[in-house]
Symmetry: C2
Subunit: 161 residues, 2 copies
């Protein structure tokens, strides 16, 4: 097989998609239609202190404009609120709503359940080992899940421009 390398990549993608697709579907089933990982990520960043668009952009490694668009969606769905920042009139302070937190909570729960399923299939020790390897291989660089079609996108570092 001359494609084991590429296959490995596909397999990794497959694993990710499998989890995320299932989680998204389950979240929808529970009444949170159309919640996507990116939303969760953004909310998490907001909850973690990225309480304005520019900062959120920085944390998510996207432009502030992109962050603003995401925020608009989150706000529209009632997952975050935006109020004037009393300390800085330029800012609009973001806050995750109870509904937003609820979605995050359920998301976590679902992912835990999915992981537990995998664990049941191959055993806890084996999954732990698997995760260890994965961590080793991936390293510590934070993972970006950004650009539309990033699978097919130009990547900053090199080809860039």
């Amino acid at each position: 097989m001359s494609r084991s390398g590429a296959d490995l990549a596909l397999l990794l993608l497959g694993g990710f998609r499998s989890l995320v697709d299932s989680a998204t579907a389950e979240l929808a089933r529970r009444g949170h239609e159309g919640v996507r990982p990116a939303h969760d990520f953004a909310m998490r960043a907001v909850a973690a202190g990225a309480d304005n668009a520019s900062e959120l952009g920085r944390r998510l490694s996207v432009t502030k404009q992109a962050a603003a668009k995401t925020i608009a969606v989150l706000q529209e769905r009632g997952y975050v609120t935006r109020e004037a920042d009393p300390l800085d009139a330029r800012r609009k302070r973001l806050r995750v709503t109870p509904l937003g937190f609820e979605v995050m909570r359920q998301g976590e729960e679902i992912f835990e359940e999915l992981r537990a399923q995998w664990e049941r299939r191959i055993g806890p020790a084996e999954l732990a080992r698997f995760e260890d390897r994965l961590r080793e291989l991936v390293g510590t660089e934070p993972v970006r899940l950004d650009a539309p079609g990033w699978v097919a996108q130009d990547l900053g570092g090199t080809g860039g421009g």
Copy 2:
């Protein structure tokens, strides 16, 4: 830690991105600027017999229109040619050019090299085991790498998991 499930997903994505980003960058370094996994996939499908837009769409699980757009790019870059099909005047027969094959070949080579690096890090046996687990977990469903921002996209009810 209540996020091990989600972290597992991220880790998988990280692994995929790590490989793909490296491969894309390396391919660019070798003069094939802007070649993306989706291109490779499409070329592979063409080479494997999807020699018209509609068929390609089917194989890639995207609409024929989307396939047509991809083909346009591939053609523009000289990776595929389009000629009238002598047997069916509706069709434009696709063929991967030598350049296209070259890109595929180099892509494979690069992925192999990346996999070999991982192998060197954790050992062949361990990597094999890792891949086995991954295969078990992912199953045999073909992996789609389609929709723009699929990470953040609505997913048809199937869930895929």
